[in-house]
Symmetry: C2
Subunit: 183 residues, 2 copies
DNA sequence: GTCTATAAACGGATAGAC
DNA sequence: GTCTATCCGTTTATAGAC
């Protein structure tokens, strides 16, 4: 039987998100037009606009999941007292979340298109700042800052390791982060 | 006395490069229109086109310097036999070159706008590949690849350490790279 | 819910006057 | 060497029919 309108809506909405995510990662945010998204999934631009009022709204919907996951993780990390244990928890949680959102992970932070939108930029920056202080306290050294902000953006590594399965990638990234952060 | 035409030309050409570099770094390549470059430096778009036939040409002119420097460094590194000595030479040379081109460094690799242009993408990828093999041989492990490609894109660290002087930044980045690459 | 049609602005790029 | 004016394709976004 044919789907109800509500089912059809959910299906189309999800298709937009999936297509947009793939194209954002492949071409970058700025170079992905709504026309390209619509063409790729075989609908019209106007139909995309029925679900999202702007291009940014699509991006925000895509990022919301991983942003929420990261936030929850930071909340838990805050309750851990030992410095070493806290770092291990943060690295584990961070990398787990990256793997869980592997489809969108190659995009984050890196793309200049993201940083031009106040709400997104602020959210990402605030989260990063919070993680930095949880790891290294109120006055992190330059070395600590450098290490942290590199680890915070694993995109370059992920993009080059597409041939690895989730488990192998996870362990590789965890070792990478720990090596980087043990300053 | 007023400048000759040749002097004026050189001055304008340089102003275009300086302005474009600043804007590419700040807004990304895609989001920097020729109109914006022209407006920022107080000339018309047509005048910019008198010096560069396309937007890409401006970018290529900006990258040429650091690409050549990196290439020369790889040539020298190739003559070094000891594995450890070679890595130290590569890290030193790489970071020195990043500092020397600090104004453009926050842009590199990261920007999706760069990677859409075959010539630039191939050049950057070939160089990266060459450095990888010089460091880790023909069959680098996943850990080695991950570490290398992270170190190859120091943009995230540089963007956050603008308050450091050249010398302090250089030493911080060298420590960062060595920690990362000693897999 | 999806479409056609179109508006309004902006993009890269060129012609021709001064 | 720099400008004005313009072309043409593409972009985001909306109105209205089905």
């Amino acid at each position: 039987m044919s789907p109800t309108r509500a089912e059809q809506a959910e299906k189309t909405r999800q298709a937009i998100l999936d297509t947009a995510r793939r194209l954002f990662v492949e071409h970058g945010f700025d170079a992905t037009s709504l026309q390209l998204i619509a063409d790729t999934m075989g609908v019209t631009k106007a139909n995309v606009y029925y679900y999202f009022r702007t291009k940014i709204e699509i991006l925000e919907a895509l990022l919301d999941v991983s942003i929420a996951a990261f936030d929850a993780m930071l909340d838990t990390a805050e309750t851990i007292r030992g410095k070493r244990a806290r770092m291990e928890y943060l690295v584990d949680g961070f990398v787990d979340q990256v793997i869980a959102n592997r489809a969108i992970a190659p995009l984050s932070h890196t793309d200049p298109g993201l940083r031009r939108h106040d709400r997104i930029r602020r959210t990402l920056d605030d989260q990063a700042e919070r993680g930095l202080h949880l790891l290294f306290g109120d006055q992190p050294t330059a070395d600590e800052q450098a290490a942290y902000f590199m680890a915070n953006d694993l995109g370059p590594a992920i993009r080059r390791l597409t041939h690895l399965g989730d488990d192998e990638l996870r362990e590789t990234l965890k070792r990478l982060c720990l090596r980087l952060l043990r300053v």
